[in-house]
């Protein structure tokens, strides 16, 4: 205790007692003060930190002595300067320049950090500033177009929707194909299907991560980088590091934004008059006489009197605002960061919003020279006010079964119930999903010697997801006053790791470091379901139930718990020679509870080498090349992201099975597969990092080849076997491609212009599916299949050829390419792919004095969009409304039109069913989008001093402002709701009434005190 009191006393009394001093001011090239820069007298422990005005003072110095000062600050080039003291104080000033040396960045690797110079693998990084300039509903979508080889398809316009991220293509079919997310050391809970796809929205496990908390995101792409995560690195690893206090003193900052959200596009649906006209035309085309019988037995008189614009009624201009207050405090012993955020994010869907309240405290405690502790604590509360979307209703209804001839209200003011009425459901139904999440961790580093550090870390990720729905009497048309349901899931996920790091400088030329560690992770998900009738409100209102009535019923059940565990042992050996050649050898073994004892452990080795060519004499003769580094790596990583108990054959428990004839039952529920094993990928990667003209131009070029075998697939077995599916390791997949990125400082004067560009091309191919057919695995109802020689997520469709000019009927091609009027699924062929040919982005950043502007375009080249709902909006006339595109239809012999003749008869389309998948609805997925436009103004310091404000910046931020595409549907960037992991892997880029992305305009303020 005495020791701590002394520490505190020392802190409070830390004033100089010497008059001889060096005082100074540190500014950046724009003359703005650099706050928090460290000034150290080399070879001593004497140091100071610049204050809010950029000033520093170092006292207790000898007169007439020459001192060497080192001035450093993250993001700036370090300055070394000799200063001579004399009999009085000395004043100096320094101008710090931005550090553009690409090799000196610190990047996060698995279980540690490295300067980029020493990195041997393929790692990309994004900083907090880039996140801050892009207000996104969920942090992962801010990665879009920023990093080569990282494909981000932002979730739909519904609040809280999940993005789909693919790193260098996809290597999985039924196992989760998303990268592993590690936040401050814990692989977090990332189950997208905790709530299935209720309301056409999957759970987004990342939505509760506060973007304002994030310091940096590092994306590990090749085996050298991911193998240390062994069993779970095959689809890449995204490491999120949260902010920490990194300077002494106290500071506050406030970030706030306010904005509006609209849709990037809205559908043009038929109005009542148009609908009636076309419906009648279809009736007459089919030989009908008189007026057609309208859907839902609506009379023509009533239909003509009604003209409801359902799209208008289900959409709005959403208002959003977000506020973040941050405080940092630091001294010699303690560094603390506290962050508080509140945001309200209305989407453009009426009734839909996502509110988030988040708190974080991160601490670093330097207890002694040898002992250091860290803590991270965060709490987040996310409230999603839900509405139905897509196929479930809302705007989806407006695009389909809510016909313009249906009114919202009857003449007596009651809701119309004679057909789909999304307004009625939206106004009456109460639906909310609340997620409470705690992410906490504690770590200890103990320096056993100068070279040997023992680290221990423990993390706990607690997630409580509660979904409440309430349907009142008016919606149910029930005798009781309403029914409530609650579906709750609690996931308790913890891990710990113990690690020894040994760094040994053998001599001036040779450096060695060894890391060995052990990790254990366990996750348990439990759930409850309850439902009751005669409820006055949802279960979130405890006073709502009306029990004293025969109408009250109550039922509850507990879901079977889902639990998994991993045990891992890992080691990394790093060797550096002359600061120019670096080698890493990594080995990890993981055991998973998802596999039986015979295949429980997977073994994941990797090796990598990099050579910093510019450290060689021969390269110094080429002065234009300031940096050149070559890298090669090869290694293995795995995937075990499958349901927890698929290896077990199971029977239903008689206690929970239905009775027959008053007697219990039991029956097999799952086929066992005790031989399930890891899905594994071997990846070769080579790359070169080059800087020219003092790194004014830098670029990176990478090539990779990833070969995945033992692909985990949920296979459809012949239904005559008595089961529908089971899991097995079948087949193989390859991904290979190139990535290219560059950064150029085009103009670097008072006016600055920087360009950041990246593009990636990935070739994905299924090389084997064993003995199974294309239909053994399907991407939900989206007609994507597994086809050998084609990519994962191949559109497997009957080919549409043209419209027969004489009859107006669609003509297809059979399996042999022969034209036919008959649509037959046996004629399906591989005709498209949901994966794009190339992805990328370009960011141009300009600054002049206090102004700055950033323009980010993302682009997708190739790949196909399957517009699955169009077959109902533009095909056979049914009880769906149609889009105005249908005006361009065949009407008489000889017409050359975009769509066949109108018909109520499915036979006209050559099929007994109206909902047939053909290439008529397959479109080129190429697009480019103005993803982000930011215009910022930094208020001059002089104007802020009176207000005691260190810095202030105001900016306008627009997202998704412009889209360039030939796609005729709503939005070419599509992440629809998915049925399961297989669907998520295979059916991105397929739209089924999917709400388009959000376009937003925001005003943002950043203030530091």
């Amino acid at each position: 205790m005495k020791r701590y009191l002394l520490l505190i006393f020392t802190l409070l009394c830390s004033t100089s007692m010497y008059a001889q001093s060096i005082r100074g001011k540190i500014t950046d090239p724009t003359k703005e003060p650099v706050i928090g820069a460290g000034v150290v007298i080399e070879g001593t422990n004497i140091a100071a930190v610049t204050d809010a005005l950029g000033n520093f003072s170092i006292g207790k110095l000898q007169p007439n002595t020459k001192y060497k000062l080192k001035v450093s600050m993250l993001g700036f080039q370090t300055i070394y300067r000799e200063v001579q003291t004399n009999s009085t104080d000395v004043s100096v000033s320094f101008t710090m320049r931005e550090d553009t040396k690409q090799l000196e960045d610190v990047v996060v690797v698995g279980y540690g950090t490295k300067v980029k110079r020493e990195v041997t693998g393929a790692i990309s990084k994004i900083s907090a500033k880039e996140l801050n300039d892009l207000p996104v509903p969920s942090f992962e979508s801010a990665l879009q177009a920023k990093l080569p080889g990282v494909q981000v398809t932002t979730g739909s316009g519904a609040a809280g929707s999940a993005s789909v991220i693919r790193i260098r293509g996809i290597s999985s079919i039924s196992a989760g194909g998303d990268p592993l997310y590690v936040i401050d050391g814990i692989p977090i809970t990332q189950d997208y299907f905790l709530n299935g796809n209720a309301g056409a929205l999957n759970n987004n496990p990342l939505s509760s991560i506060n973007p304002d908390d994030i310091e940096s995101i590092d994306v590990l792409k090749d085996a050298a980088a991911t193998a240390i995560y062994g069993s779970r690195g095959a689809n890449g690893v995204i490491i999120v590091t949260t902010k920490r206090a990194n300077k002494n003193g106290t500071s506050f900052s406030y970030n706030g934004s306010i904005g509006v959200a609209t849709a990037t596009a809205l559908p043009n649906m038929l109005n009542s008059e148009q609908y009636l006209q076309l419906y009648q035309e279809a009736h007459e085309n089919d030989g009908g006489v008189g007026l057609a019988r309208l859907p839902n037995n609506i009379s023509w008189d009533d239909a003509r009197k009604t003209n409801t614009d359902w799209v208008d009624l289900t959409t709005q201009t959403g208002i959003k605002h977000r506020h973040n207050v941050s405080m940092t405090y630091g001294n010699k012993y303690v560094s603390l960061l506290a962050n508080m955020s509140y945001g309200k994010d209305e989407s453009y869907l009426v009734g839909n919003r996502f509110d988030q309240t988040a708190f974080r405290i991160n601490g670093d405690y330097r207890i002694s020279k040898k002992l250091k502790m860290t803590s991270t604590s965060s709490y987040s509360n996310g409230l999603n006010k839900r509405v139905n979307t897509a196929w479930a209703g809302g705007l989806g209804s407006a695009m389909s079964t809510a016909l313009p001839i249906f009114p919202v209200y009857n003449p007596d003011g009651t809701y119309f119930t004679g057909g789909d009425n999304p307004v009625r459901i939206q106004e009456l139904k109460k639906w909310q999903t609340v997620e409470n999440r705690f992410l906490n961790g504690i770590g200890v580093d103990y320096n056993l010697t100068d070279e040997l550090v023992l680290s221990a870390k423990g993390n706990y990720d607690y997630m409580n997801l509660v979904d409440d729905q309430y349907d009142p009497q008016l919606l149910l048309n029930s005798t009781h006053i309403g029914s409530a349901t609650r579906n709750s899931r609690i996931t308790k996920n913890y891990n710990y790791n113990l690690q020894l790091n040994y760094t040994y400088k053998i001599n001036a030329s040779n450096k060695l470091s060894v890391m060995v560690g052990h990790e254990y992770q366990n996750s348990l998900t439990e759930g409850k379901f309850k439902t009751a009738t005669n409820m006055g409100n949802g279960f979130y209102d405890g006073e709502a139930k009306v029990e004293d009535s025969a109408l009250y019923t109550y039922f509850s059940s507990e879901n079977s718990p889902e639990q998994w565990a991993f045990v891992g042992y890992y080691t990394r050996l790093s060797y550096g020679y002359n600061n120019k050649i670096f080698m890493d050898a990594t080995f990890r073994t993981d055991g998973s509870s998802r596999f039986g004892a015979n295949n429980r452990y997977g073994y994941f080795p990797a090796a990598a080498i990099s050579w910093l060519l510019t450290e060689e004499e021969f390269m110094k003769k080429i002065p234009v090349i300031s940096t050149a580094k070559a890298r090669v790596s090869y290694g293995k990583s795995g995937n075990a992201n499958i349901p927890n108990y698929e290896r077990f054959g199971t029977y239903a428990n008689p206690n929970s099975t239905p009775n027959y004839n008053g007697t219990g039952t039991t029956f097999p529920t799952r086929l066992d597969n005790p031989n399930l094993r890891w899905e594994t990928s071997w990846t070769f990667n080579t790359g070169i990092d080059v800087g020219l003209w003092s790194d004014r131009v830098t670029f990176t070029l990478e090539y990779y080849d990833r070969r995945t075998s033992d692909v985990l697939m949920q296979l459809a077995v012949p239904p005559s076997s008595g089961f529908s599916s089971y899991w097995d390791n079948v087949g193989s997949i390859t991904n290979n491609g190139v990535e290219f990125s560059f950064v150029t400082r085009n103009i670097d004067r008072e006016f600055k212009w920087t360009t950041n560009f990246n593009i990636a091309r990935n070739l994905n191919e299924i090389t084997s599916i064993g003995k199974y057919s294309e239909d053994a695995v399907s991407g939900g109802t989206n007609d994507t299949r597994v086809v050998v020689g084609q990519p994962v997520g191949t559109n497997f469709l009957v080919r549409y050829s043209h419209i027969d000019a004489a009859t107006g009927r669609p003509v297809y091609l059979d399996i042999n390419g022969v034209e036919t009027f008959n649509w037959d699924p046996k004629d399906r062929v591989a005709v498209g792919a949901v994966l794009p040919d190339a992805i990328g982005g370009i960011t141009n950043t300009f600054s002049y004095k206090n102004w700055d502007m950033s323009v980010l375009f993302n682009f997708v080249l190739g790949g196909d969009i399957y517009e699955s709902s169009a077959k109902r909006q533009l095909g056979v006339v049914t009880n769906w409304n149609m889009r105005t595109d249908i005006f361009d239809r065949w009407q008489q012999p000889g017409d050359n039109a975009a769509f066949p003749r109108l018909t109520l008869e499915t036979a006209t389309y050559g099929s007994p069913t109206p909902w047939i998948n053909t290439t008529m609805w397959l479109h080129d997925g190429t697009f480019a989008r103005l993803r982000n436009l930011t215009i910022g103004y930094r208020i001059p310091k002089a104007k802020l001093q009176k207000l005691k404000i260190e810095s202030a910046r105001i900016s306008f931020i627009g997202t998704n402002l412009l889209t360039f595409t030939k796609y005729t549907g709503l939005d070419p960037e599509i992440a629809r709701d998915f049925e399961n992991s297989t669907d998520r892997n295979m059916s991105s880029n397929i739209t089924y009434l999917t709400p388009p992305q959000q376009k937003s305009y925001n005003l943002q303020v950043n203030i530091t005190f």
Partner: protein, 469 residues
């Protein structure tokens, strides 16, 4: 403590902790709320529960689902009112292998088959099972397995008699618990398999077995199999044996319109409902019920007119007309207007109709008249003019066929009956040729449902496509 000692101790601690946490048991996490396969069936009671689940699974298909398929293909049902694409496709007699209703039923018919086959692996492992238990359980299993294959071959294959030797493709025969893809057996082989199972059941089932299958149930089903094979003598023998049993024709025509807490004396084999929460008629109610909603499917005017053509026919109260005389007029069944009921698999009504027809075909007009008049007297109470006489001669068959249609509409019987007529009607004593079902030839491709795409392998042949028109 010097540095090296410290390193040694800390490393020992680290390695020790690694060792502790590496216990295999940390990774041996078993599912909860279910039973693992090797511990689920270990007692005679477990076996009975497994067998009971076979009945349960079968009952869940005979709750109106199987019957609806037969009806949709027939000439009794109008195009589905609800526009459901899968049901409409069945009605159009042009199913494709993506039709999840069709594929779903197909798979669910084989679920009891798997369970029955899996029971074979337990008989010699479970202590306490008596020889009598084993005999009964095996026989009940064969009975269930036969019904499943019989139903599958009727829906997914062209009928018996489609080819002279019945070598045309039938359905897969599953006599082992296996996931291996197998090919379709011929219709002849499937019928042989069904007959063998039922004969085994007849030889080993008890004479009474509560609400479960007994020897008469197996005989009745086998009689129906022979009837569809047009093996009239074998059919007649079995019918005579069953009908000598304790069955009496119900006074009520409302076979489905009673809160059946027990079993009607008319039922030879049925799936029992004990209460509203144990409803074995759910799909009948969901699809056909017409008193509380517009049903998903309704009757064609032809069958409505047939049933209501005689005002003394009390079966008219089992049908109805909505919006009569208006443009949006439609016809409904009222057979299933109740909250719950059991589902009759085979009844005395059907046996009477069957024996009447077999007797008429084989010249036993007396039995034919006696049997059909039991049906007629119940349908036309007091109207003796409707009763049949032997004087009708061969025309008696016309009457029997018409009564069959009136009695069994919406019970999934019509399509198979018409297919049988198509296959064997020309050799009848009252020949019927050119049989069509809603204007489609009885043997058109679309009258055999398409198999699900996931059944397709290199050894599996799909049904012919192209529908019926």
């Amino acid at each position: 403590m010097n540095t090296y000692k410290k390193i040694f101790y800390i490393s020992s601690l680290l390695i020790g902790s690694i060792g502790l946490s590496s216990c295999e048991k940390m990774l041996e996490i078993k599912p909860e709320g279910v039973l693992l396969a090797d511990e689920a069936v270990t007692t005679p009671e477990d076996m009975q529960k497994l067998l009971n689940s076979c009945y349960d699974a079968l009952a869940n298909q005979y709750n109106g689902t199987v019957q609806l398929f037969g009806d949709l293909l027939s000439d009794d049902i109008e195009k589905p009112f609800d526009g459901n694409e899968f049901r409409t496709e069945i009605w159009s007699r042009n199913t494709n292998f993506f039709n999840s209703d069709v594929g779903g039923l197909y798979g669910r018919l084989y679920i009891p088959v798997y369970r029955v086959n899996s029971m074979d692996g337990f008989y010699d492992k479970i202590a306490g099972l008596t020889e009598a238990d084993i005999k009964r359980m095996k026989a009940e299993g064969r009975f269930i397995r036969a019904i499943c294959h019989y139903e599958a071959v009727k829906l997914w294959a062209q009928p018996y008699g489609y080819t002279s030797d019945n070598s045309h493709p039938g359905v897969p025969i599953r006599d082992k618990a296996s996931q291996e893809p197998i090919q379709r057996s011929s219709v002849a082989a499937v019928y042989d398999f069904v007959i063998a199972d039922l004969q085994y059941a007849i030889a080993n089932l008890p004479s009474t077995n509560g609400n479960y299958a007994d020897v008469n149930a197996a005989k009745a089903v086998l009689a129906d199999v022979y009837f569809n094979m047009n093996k009239l003598a074998e059919c007649r023998t079995l019918l005579d044996e069953v009908m000598a049993g304790p069955y009496t024709l119900s006074d009520s025509i409302d076979r489905f319109n009673q809160n059946l807490t027990g079993i009607s004396n008319e039922f030879v084999f049925s799936f029992i409902s004990n209460n509203a929460n144990d409803n074995r008629g759910g799909q009948f109610i969901d699809r056909y019920r017409s008193d509380t909603k517009v049903p998903d499917v309704g009757l064609r005017k032809e069958i409505y007119d047939l049933i209501t053509s005689d005002t003394t026919d009390i079966r008219a109260r089992l049908v109805g007309v909505v919006n009569e005389g208006q443009a949006n007029e439609f016809f409904v069944s009222k057979k299933f207007n109740n909250d719950y009921f059991g589902s009759a698999y085979i009844t005395l009504t059907k046996l009477l109709l069957m024996r009447a027809e077999v007797a008429a075909e084989t010249g036993d007009l007396s039995t034919a008249v006696t049997d059909i008049n039991k049906i007629i007297k119940r349908a036309y109470p007091g109207n003796t003019a409707k009763e049949a006489t032997t004087a009708l001669g061969a025309d008696l068959l016309v009457l029997i066929r018409e009564e069959r249609r009136k009695e069994l509409f919406c019970e999934g019987d019509r399509t198979y009956y018409m297919k049988r007529l198509g296959a064997f009607g020309s050799s009848s004593v009252k020949p019927v040729t050119g049989v069509t079902i809603r204007s489609a030839p009885w043997n058109c491709p679309g009258l055999a449902l398409q198999f699900p795409s996931t059944e397709v392998t290199s050894v599996f042949i799909l049904n012919e496509t192209g529908g019926c028109n």
